[in-house]
């Protein structure tokens, strides 16, 4: 009985390790590759690197516009968070916690924005933004990211809002507290973990966005990390894989640090919706 139990737990552990390996292997490969010279990556690749070098990181941090791209990415992502959070909070609260005509239809079509392949939208968006003088501006790029972050953000936050007992609002209503005051002083503080999770989500959506940044940001000075990195990694005749790997690590690093700081809120936010 006892031994069969331990066999099962060992098997379970093995399966978990295997799955973790499959999930993490690409990241591990990238991390290792970023410390290899480019020549070694092109031919005779071994599991353990034969030579370790920092040259990829030196060229990334010192010889490229890495820091400028980070700042640009940060600006666009911050704009996205600032623009999308009020919309997500107001949207989630009104769609899922108040009664009005057409509410169900509205919430049904909420995620319809994701039906269209984004590539289809590039040309019309370019035309529209051109008319609004939003081409070649971080704000324009952030507006686009906001449009993509908001519907899913609303959907995510409503799951969190639903986990709050409705009696909180009812208690406030009986106490004669206005809806707006209830939202700001009771619902938002109560939903803080969820809102922080949504902020993280919006930030990452914007941080990794490529297509619209590529289309809308024309000047080199405004390029974000994904655009800047692809520009230098893919040379005209050859690809610098080691440098690409260092760039990937370099672009994930700020988000990783952000996760370390607010990660536990993110997990709480996601799981609160999941349990429901």
């Amino acid at each position: 009985m006892n031994s069969s139990y331990s066999v099962i737990s060992i098997l379970r552990l093995l399966v978990i390790v295997l799955i973790m390996f499959i999930l993490l292997a690409p990241f591990l490969w990238i991390l290792i590759a970023s410390f290899r010279p480019n020549m070694e990556l092109v031919r005779n690749q071994t599991l353990i690197p034969q030579n370790i070098t920092l040259e990829n990181y030196v060229s990334l941090f010192a010889k490229s516009a890495y820091w400028k791209w980070v700042i640009n990415s940060f600006i666009v992502s911050l704009y996205t968070v600032i623009l999308s959070l009020p919309l997500i909070v107001a949207g989630a609260y009104s769609v899922y916690r108040t009664q009005f005509r057409g509410r169900n239809v509205l919430s049904f079509f909420l995620l319809s924005v994701y039906i269209f392949p984004t590539a289809l939208l590039v040309v019309p968006i370019f035309k529209i933004f051109d008319g609004l003088s939003l081409i070649d501006s971080h704000l324009g790029c952030a507006l686009m990211n906001t449009a993509f972050a908001v519907p899913f953000g609303i959907w995510l936050l409503q799951a969190f809002l639903r986990s709050l007992p409705p009696e909180l609002e009812e208690a406030a209503a009986v106490d004669g507290i206005s809806k707006i005051r209830t939202l700001f002083q009771i619902i938002i503080p109560q939903a803080a973990p969820g809102i922080i999770a949504i902020a993280m989500f919006a930030f990452i959506v914007s941080w990794t966005e490529y297509l619209f940044a590529m289309t809308l940001l024309l000047s080199n000075d405004l390029h974000t990390l994904p655009i800047g990195l692809t520009g230098i990694v893919f040379g005209q005749y050859r690809v610098n894989w080691g440098f690409a790997a260092a760039g990937a690590v370099g672009s994930a690093l700020p988000v990783f640090i952000l996760f370390l700081i607010v990660g536990r809120w993110f997990i709480r936010g996601i799981s609160a919706g999941a349990i429901k």
Binding site: P165, E170, V174
Partner: protein, 360 residues
């Protein structure tokens, strides 16, 4: 404080009638308990008084003013919720003062009121703590304090004790009775617990399937339940019911089934039914050594001071309460007497109480 009047209240959820023509007048300073099984419409009725649920039909008056269309905040009522609904991101002090602050009371006044209520509820030491650092009983007191601090005309309480463990519930029940007595407040209280209802209410409104089936003092409801439902719901352990035929022999009427025959009580002589439901409470029997109604013991449950004994009487099983000193084993034969005054008779078809002074 104020009187509250519910007039012909109806509530539909879709096509389902969940509150059916409820009319209750609650006097100034009265403690009225809505009691009934879950889903009977008691909480919905309370929520209509609070303004949290719209009124499909009928009228609610608080201090002779119709409040049907007033938002909850304008009705000057305070509500204590089953799950307390404390603002967990605020300290106890802020929880207590929040409504006052929203109503633009000045800070000194808020402080004074919060302190007074905290003293009243023994929460002075807790004012700087967050709700999660409190025990269940303390949280319950904060919820109560949040209601008291506003000094409302009417308190509405929705099963406020049901989340507490047994001992604490008993203690809090006593405190709540004292407190509402001191405040001389009008209280509308909802519970499914008949013991809570009996001990706390000046009057009870027993509800079933959306209707108030009996509205009276706890004593009257216990002694003269208006229907089989009330008789079964109020009182613990519940009343026994037996289907009886009415036979007449030599001008005297008898209640009869397969295992017992009892004379119809004198007060019920005018009985004209052929069959009735006879009810009697488990504690209203008297054990005798011979000559009584005889039954076989099937199960004995010890309740401490008493024993609850299940007896087989022919095809029926009844329960009786006997002192714990009685040595009773299952399988044994027991005999008992039933006093005629202890019998409750209910109409067989509509299950209403057959009263002694009827003339029809």
């Amino acid at each position: 404080m104020a009187s509250v009047s519910l007039k012909n209240l109806n509530k539909f959820f879709g096509n389902t009638l969940v509150v059916n023509n409820v009319s209750v007048d609650i006097a100034d300073g009265e403690f009225l308990v809505f009691v009934g099984p879950s889903g009977c419409g008691k909480t919905t009725t309370l929520r209509m008084v609070a303004g949290l649920e719209s009124i499909s039909d009928g009228e609610i008056q608080i201090r002779d003013r119709t409040v049907n269309h007033l938002p909850p905040g304008a009705r000057d009522v305070a509500m204590v919720f089953q799950n307390y609904a404390l603002y967990s991101h605020m300290t106890v002090g802020k929880n207590l003062g929040f409504a006052l602050k929203a109503r633009r009371f000045d800070d000194d006044d808020i402080k004074k009121r919060v302190l007074r209520v905290a003293k009243m509820l023994d929460l002075e030491e807790m004012l700087d703590r967050k709700p999660r650092q409190l025990s269940g009983g303390q949280r319950q007191r904060v919820a109560l304090g949040r209601a008291i601090v506003r000094n409302p005309q009417v308190f509405l309480m929705d099963e406020p004790l049901s989340n507490l463990d047994a001992l604490l519930r008993l203690q809090t029940r006593k405190e709540l009775i004292e407190l509402t007595g001191e405040l001389k407040s009008t209280v509308i209280y909802v519970t499914h617990d008949q013991v809570e209802a009996m001990t706390m209410g000046h009057r009870l409104a027993v509800m079933n399937e959306g209707e108030v089936v009996q509205l009276d003092t706890p004593e009257n409801i216990y002694n003269q339940p208006s229907s089989r439902f009330v008789a079964e719901f109020i009182g613990s352990p519940p009343m026994n019911f037996l289907n009886m035929e009415i036979n007449e022999k030599n001008g005297k009427k008898f209640l009869k089934n397969d295992s017992l025959v009892l004379p119809v009580p004198d007060s019920m002589k005018k009985l004209c039914e052929n069959a009735v439901i006879m009810g009697f409470r488990p504690n209203e029997i008297e054990l005798v050594s011979q000559g009584g109604i005889s039954g076989t013991v099937s199960v004995v449950e010890s309740l401490g001071a008493e024993k609850l004994v299940y007896l087989k009487l022919g095809v029926n099983t009844i329960s009786i309460l006997v002192p714990s000193e009685e040595k009773i084993k299952s399988g044994e034969n027991l005999q008992f007497n039933l006093r005629p005054e202890a019998l409750h008779l209910f109409n067989y078809s509509n299950q209403r109480r057959i009263t002694s002074n009827r003339n029809d």
